[in-house]
């Protein structure tokens, strides 16, 4: 009940922050661009648009929307002192964090959905002849919403664990670099580290490909990218990664990617609540 009270007030507060809507506009812009891009195609391909959206959304825009909307959720209140008005009434600290997650998620999900509406209108205007696969579209939107919520939970968790605006920014940027850029692009990615350890132990990494695949998917971005079997045909998906087969272990099956994303909602939130409950708000 107090979670809802916190969420109601926070929603009212954050939806009036103009900065929150800037990355949403960026996402909408990419949608329009990608759909417009198909208009010059003699055989417009809806799934190629989804694929492009998955790429730009996973590594940049969705994390940006979520982090901007939520990184100050708790730390900002601690810095300004409004936290004392928030906790001067009978709400417990866990309710503050969950209420913030609820409010910021609603804002972010609303922003993402607005972008999809804009994108769909752009599709109808620019490429009226293109067939939209609505089933795949809805699955992609649903999973994108889950990915966005995971990043909101991460940002709220970091925000709840930090005492000041500057630390919340630093924490959010650090997370983004480690779990996004660092995870896939740096020569010392966790997968390489794992292979290195295996080699040191005299094992052949070739025998551990499933594990390496799992490590890749343990970052929220990796998990999101590996959900493409749900909404992209094999002709596109197979260019990126080997399409999973039923004989693969469960932890690299597409459904397990949803479990990983759900864990990225629950775990950062739980850690953030624990830290915030012990915080000294002097």
């Amino acid at each position: 009940m107090s979670t809802l009270a916190v969420a109601r007030r926070d929603f009212l507060n954050v939806r009036r922050a103009k900065l929150v809507w800037a990355p949403v506009a960026l996402y909408s812009l990419f949608m329009v661009l990608f759909f417009y891009g198909q208009s010059s195609n003699t055989d417009p391909d809806f799934h190629m648009v989804l694929f492009s959206l998955l790429g730009i959304g996973s590594v940049l825009v969705i994390p940006l929307i979520a982090l901007v909307a939520a990184y100050l959720s708790v730390a900002g209140e601690r810095e300004s002192g409004t936290i004392k008005f928030t906790l001067g009434v009978p709400v417990d600290r866990a309710a503050v964090v969950t209420g913030k997650l609820l409010a910021r998620s609603i804002v972010v999900v609303a922003g993402v959905l607005v972008s999809f509406v804009v994108g769909t209108i752009a599709a109808k205007v620019f490429v009226p002849g293109m067939a939209i696969a609505y089933g795949d579209y809805l699955r992609f939107i649903a999973i994108t919403v889950l990915y966005a919520t995971a990043y909101v939970a991460i940002a709220v968790g970091i925000s709840a664990a930090t005492s000041a605006r500057s630390r919340a920014i630093a924490g959010s940027i650090a997370f983004f670099f480690v779990f996004n850029i660092g995870w896939f692009s740096l020569p010392i990615s966790p997968m390489e580290v794992f292979e290195f350890v295996l080699e040191q132990l005299g094992r052949d990494p070739e025998n551990y490909q499933h594990f390496i695949e799992l490590i890749w998917s343990l970052s929220p971005t990796g998990a999101y990218l590996n959900t493409m079997d749900f909404y992209l045909p094999a002709r596109i998906a197979s260019q990126q990664a080997p399409v999973s087969t039923a004989s693969d272990p469960f932890y690299i099956q597409p459904w397990f990617m949803l479990v990983i994303l759900a864990a990225w909602v629950v775990v950062p939130l739980a850690l953030g609540i624990r830290r915030f409950q012990k915080a000294q708000l002097g």
Binding site: R8, N13, V89, P90
Partner: protein
Amino acid sequence: MVAIQTDGLTKRFGSGEAGVLALNDLDLTVEEGEVFGFLGPNGAGKSTTINILLNFIDPTAGSAEVLGHDVQTESKQVRQRTGVLPEGAEVFERLTPREHIAWVEDAKGIDADTDAILDTVGIADAADRKAGGFSKGMQQRLGLGMALAGDPDLLILDEPSSGLDPTGMKEMRQLIREQAASGTTVFFSSHILSEVEAVCDRVAILSGGELAIQDTIENLRDQNEGVCTIDVEVDSVPDSLGLDGVAGVQDVGVADDELIVTCESPSVKVDVVRAIDERTTVTDIVSEDTSLETLFERYTGESVEAAGEQTDDSTEAAEAEVVA
């Protein structure tokens, strides 16, 4: 019934050499229905105490109860029945005053007469304006409005007059009196003696994290009867003042070329001047009236003006004394 009870409350920030003992073994009792002034210079531990009462920080040792509830294990019950005005806190910049009150209603599960509250605290005409542009005084009024919503049994106000102009301070005192008259217990902190003196039944004076005294204003006055200070300006301060032998001298302070002597009774003053005159040349004598301020200074080792100057708004502190 007891509204607030602390028992050996201690708070240490940091540890070891660098640690600061913000609160040392505080035993405080606030009875239900009284107006209790929590007095002391800035940094004496007033806000630390209030932060513990509201479970914002944990005590290092000791315990506290508010309205019969343990502040750590039953904090929600405490905050359900308490209205809180935190010290110098900002309000929600993108919400209107009406929405601020709605937040308290929502969180406490109560219905408040929002218009009446905003009228009481004097911001009714700004009820639907976002609070981002509010002055410190208006924010303070809004914070007080949030504290009043739902007619709580206890009001905890931390430096309620900070940011208010003299008129605002006067209104604040009036409001505290009205709340007390309707049976609400009011616990408020201040570094301004005159403000506390004007409305409180009882006061506690805190100094350096320790309780210097806790008593009724009347008793303090009685106790203080006769005690007075005399400032003697001299050419040069002698090595030995020779005041040890003067009967009735309670305390001697030296500031530059000024000797501040606290005397048991006014008749001691002349002996003091005589004793000093034997050692050095007296250039001026200022004899002060007996007042609670003397007492405040004695207990906190700090003058009221000095305590005021520590804040950003020392002029307001000075003005407050003029108004009172």
